[in-house]
């Protein structure tokens, strides 16, 4: 299909997408979670009429507004980047991938943008209840937006509900519901959105904790901590549950990603889960050497998590690359061979159709169908290339999981001390809670690295390699725009950070008077 691969183009395209996505993800978690927390505090205000709750809701809404704008700005770049930088992908999978994005626009974006106007400008202009409903609708809209984009992302990891049409040379949707209700998608949505809730909770706990350390806005801080820590605790417990679901679906559908997450080279029955481990540098696929310098392993847990069976076989990197006849696992080389048969059959089909050779077209089509499942492998040259970067994925996964469990304990402790009114005595905990906010981002970014870098070398798992997905343009154009966005977004993020910290320092009373530099 494509003759020449320009690796600089591929790498810079990936770099540009990663750059914008990571900047985007600095803001989206707060949009996802803060809306609910604002809605909860405002609900209490509407029910009780207590002006302090109104003040609390307005203060967090102010910070939410600063964050929301830049989230929108970075979001539009990503949406259009599918076209500008991943044009081949956009055609080859646009028939499936475009629909969730359009649904996101119609169902979610308008809901958010319309009711956010009520949320910001509707105080005093609409009734209290209508205003409150608007806040909930903004929260719901943000969640719905996340649902659609994560459905699209999940499909890239576990492609379902489609066939390949050789006439148009693309994948085409045949079952919308299979895509929307793919278990991979549902789990991904729940896991990702709750990670946003956890980050938002830490944001509010951190700001409130800072106020308590400074002895300012005590009532606002205490009340906010109770709400945010409760929400955070529930969310982080749910996060652990959906994390388990994620591991299960990765094991089922992306064994190479799972092997990389675990640093598992030689597959085994009753595989254990590495709790802590240090990978041995220089380890090569199939060299028979040990993968770890040291490790602490929980016996059989990986088999249980991945296959719900303590004695299940979990394939390792070596099995997936070199094949394992005993476990009925085909080698990567064989898959590449079959993939090339599929691609050649597709070319033959095209030629036969052009020559109006019906019999030839039918024969080529049959050959294509037989090998279609391996089509993506036909573009690869190196069997080892089917495995993502093991150390990067292994350590990222551990950072995410360890921090995730630590957060549960931290929320539990904060909530207990908040309810018993002993928070201010435990200043170390307040300081820890401030530190936990950036750590929550670190955990979340590590999770995205596991998900996205772990999917490599594919954009669509098994069907389309990343290197075939870019636009057909000069790498220099991508390099130039990479630096343009790097500079622009860095400046804007710094500006956002400065405004955010200034607004926090001024506190709710100043914010209430406008918070602006008039």
């Amino acid at each position: 299909m494509i003759e020449n691969i320009d690796l600089a183009l591929v790498n810079w395209s990936r770099g540009q997408f990663a750059l914008v996505a990571m900047y985007h993800w600095l803001f989206i978690p707060l949009t996802l979670g803060m809306t609910y927390i604002i809605a909860f505090t405002q609900t209490i205000y509407v029910r009780t009429g207590d002006k302090e709750w109104e003040r609390i809701a307005k203060f967090w809404a102010k910070l939410f507004g600063i964050n929301f704008a830049i989230g929108v700005g970075t979001g539009i770049i990503l949406g259009l980047e599918f076209g500008t930088n991943w044009a081949n992908y956009s055609w080859i999978s646009g028939d499936i991938f475009g629909a969730p994005l359009a649904a996101e626009g119609i169902m979610a974006f308008f809901l958010e943008s319309t009711f956010i106007a009520v949320m910001f400008f509707g105080w005093g202009k609409v009734s209290k209840k209508f205003h409150l409903v608007s806040v909930y609708l903004v929260a719901f809209g943000a969640s719905l937006s996340a649902l659609w984009i994560l459905v699209a992302n999940a499909w890239m990891n576990y492609p379902v509900g489609m066939v390949f049409n050789p006439d148009t040379a693309r994948h085409e949707m045949v079952d919308f519901w299979a895509i929307l209700f793919s278990p991979y998608a549902i789990n991904k949505f729940l896991h990702t959105i709750t990670s946003g809730f956890v980050i938002s909770s830490f944001f509010i706990v951190a700001v409130s904790g800072w106020y308590l350390l400074k002895g300012r806005n005590i009532l606002l801080a205490k009340r906010s901590i109770v709400i945010a820590a409760s929400f955070g605790l529930l969310s982080s417990l749910f996060l652990a549950t959906t994390g388990d679901g994620s591991a299960y679906w990765v094991a089922q559908k992306q064994p190479a990603k799972l092997a990389a997450m675990e640093g598992l080279y030689e597959g085994e029955e009753g595989a254990g889960l590495v709790a802590i481990g240090l990978l041995r540098p220089g380890k090569q696929i199939g060299d028979g050497e040990k993968a770890f310098i040291f490790k602490i392993e929980i016996p059989k847990l990986l088999s249980v998590l991945g296959y719900r069976n303590p004695n299940a076989f979990v394939p390792g990197v070596d099995d997936l690359v070199l094949g394992n006849a005993g476990q009925d696992i085909m080698s990567a080389e064989e898959k590449i061979t079959r993939g090339k048969v599929a691609l050649n059959a597709l070319a033959d089909y095209k030629e036969a159709v052009a020559l109006k050779d019906t019999a030839g077209a039918e024969a080529a089509h049959a050959r294509f169908e037989e090998n279609y499942f391996y089509m993506g492998y036909g573009h690869l040259f190196d069997p080892n290339g089917i495995i993502p970067n093991v150390p990067f994925i292994f350590y990222s996964f551990r950072i995410m999981v360890m921090l995730g469990f630590a957060f549960i304990a931290l929320f539990l402790l904060i909530l207990y001390l908040a309810v018993t009114d002993k928070l201010e005595e435990n200043r170390w905990l307040l300081r820890t809670s401030i530190l936990a906010f950036p750590l929550a981002f670190l955990a979340s970014m590590a999770g995205w690295i596991v998900a996205e870098v772990g999917r490599q070398p594919w954009t669509i798992q098994g069907l389309l390699p990343t290197m075939m997905s870019t636009s057909n343009i000069n790498a220099n154009a991508v390099i130039l725009t990479f630096w343009m966005f790097a500079a622009l977004l860095t400046v804007l993020v710094l500006a956002e950070f400065k405004i955010m910290t200034t607004t926090i320092k001024r506190g709710p009373d100043n914010a209430k008077k406008g918070g602006e530099n008039v």
Binding site: G65, L80, G83, A87, W91, A102, E172, T481, K498, E516
Partner: protein
């Protein structure tokens, strides 16, 4: 229900839907037009703030409609998305930068600690309003004038110049539509502000801008429309799908689709009427005529661009690579599924209307800007 429609019917339906969204977007560019008038209409801090808060309370809606247009084109005509965005690369990237700047500027402009200073954010708004709108017009003009790309047998597209979209600026017709859109947006912006801001001095200045900008708009627009109607257009044979140049294609389309012609004439009359009553009768209701007039005019242009066997994204490099609603669309299944989703559109339009009315009952005035209890840009 929609499953029984033919693929061709669905393709027409989706071109219609995208035409509606695209036309709505052009109307909503009054926000961008207003952004280029901040300094002209507001001579001091208070006045500028009033102007900014008037248009600023609608920016997200224009932005969302733009995103919706892009996402809708991706879902319904993915080959266009891949070809245009992946080819006219620089044009779209600069366009994106303009809109990123807009997204943060309203919110950050007057916040303490904004680092870059208030004037910088106002400059950002100007850049978005000027360059963003101009580029959009220039790129859309290539739907009539063509771009240099080749489409392979696998439907992968290859741009034939390394200018990647900058070459768009070398064609006077593209420039003409770019400027026409810019001055139309400024006209609409001024009309909107006249309607929305309760302050005489701002209204008087805006009224003057309506007249000036409408005249400049008309010059560029008439030049573009007359040239388009008289030029050869990119047509395709409905059976063989073979692309060929047809003399007076777009004029023929208007004549062969009287509905489009009526929409066009009605739209132009409404735009001029809105400008006229603002200029001569000092009415504040001009936007209620010029806005819908803009919508109808643009809608008719979309119709002659995509219907009646016309290539809506032509290739001037290789005629047969040109994109039509038939060869660039999603599959029958996807368009059907999307058609069900499109049933949400009236619901969305209804709640937008309801909430806007609730908020806009109160016009922007001096007191509103001084109230400390509200979110103010």
């Amino acid at each position: 229900m929609f499953e029984s429609l033919t693929h061709l019917q669905l393709q027409h339906y989706w071109w219609f839907i995208m035409s509606v969204v695209g036309s709505t977007l052009v109307f909503l560019l009054f926000v961008q037009g207003g952004q280029t008038l901040i300094g002209t209409l507001g001579k001091n801090e208070e006045e500028r703030t009033m102007v900014i808060n008037s248009i600023g309370r609608k920016w997200e809606f224009t932005f969302t409609t733009l995103v919706m247009f892009a996402a809708g084109m991706f879902a319904s005509f993915p080959l266009f998305y891949a070809t245009s965005f992946g080819g006219a690369y620089y044009a779209w990237k600069i366009f994106l930068v303009c809109f990123v700047l807009q997204a943060i500027s309203f919110e950050f402009r007057r916040k303490q600690g904004n680092m870059l200073g208030q004037k910088t954010y106002e400059a950002f708004l100007y850049i978005n309003g000027f360059l963003g709108v101009f580029l959009l017009g220039a790129v859309v003009a290539t739907f009539f004038t063509g771009s240099e790309f080749y489409r392979s047998e696998y439907n992968l597209s290859y741009w034939q110049t390394t200018l990647y979209g900058i070459e768009i600026l070398l064609n006077p017709l593209n420039l003409a539509l770019g400027f026409a859109l810019l001055f139309l947006a400024r006209t609409l912006g001024a009309l909107y502000i006249i309607n929305n801001v309760d302050k005489d001095v701002i209204q008087q200045r805006a009224r003057r801008q309506v007249g000036l900008n409408a005249v400049v708009f008309l010059v560029f627009f008439l030049y573009f429309v007359i040239r388009i109607l008289l030029k050869d257009g990119f047509a395709y044979h409905p059976e063989t799908l073979e692309v060929f140049m047809e003399p007076y294609k777009y004029l023929n389309n208007y004549l062969q689709m009287p509905v489009a012609l009526i929409l066009f004439l009605a739209g132009v009359v409404l735009v001029l009427y809105g400008v006229g009553i603002t200029w001569f009768k000092e009415s504040r209701k001009g936007i209620w005529f010029s806005g819908p007039g803009t919508f109808l005019t643009v809608l008719s242009l979309f119709f002659v661009l995509g219907f009646n066997n016309t290539c809506f994204y032509p290739s001037s490099y290789d005629l047969q690579s040109s994109l039509t609603i038939q060869n660039a669309s999603s599959s029958h299944y996807t368009l059907t599924a999307m058609t069900y989703i499109s049933l949400f559109v009236p619901v969305v339009a209804a709640y937008i209307f309801f909430t806007w009315r609730a908020i806009d009952k109160h016009k922007i005035n001096d007191e509103d800007m001084k109230s400390g209890d509200h979110h103010i840009y």
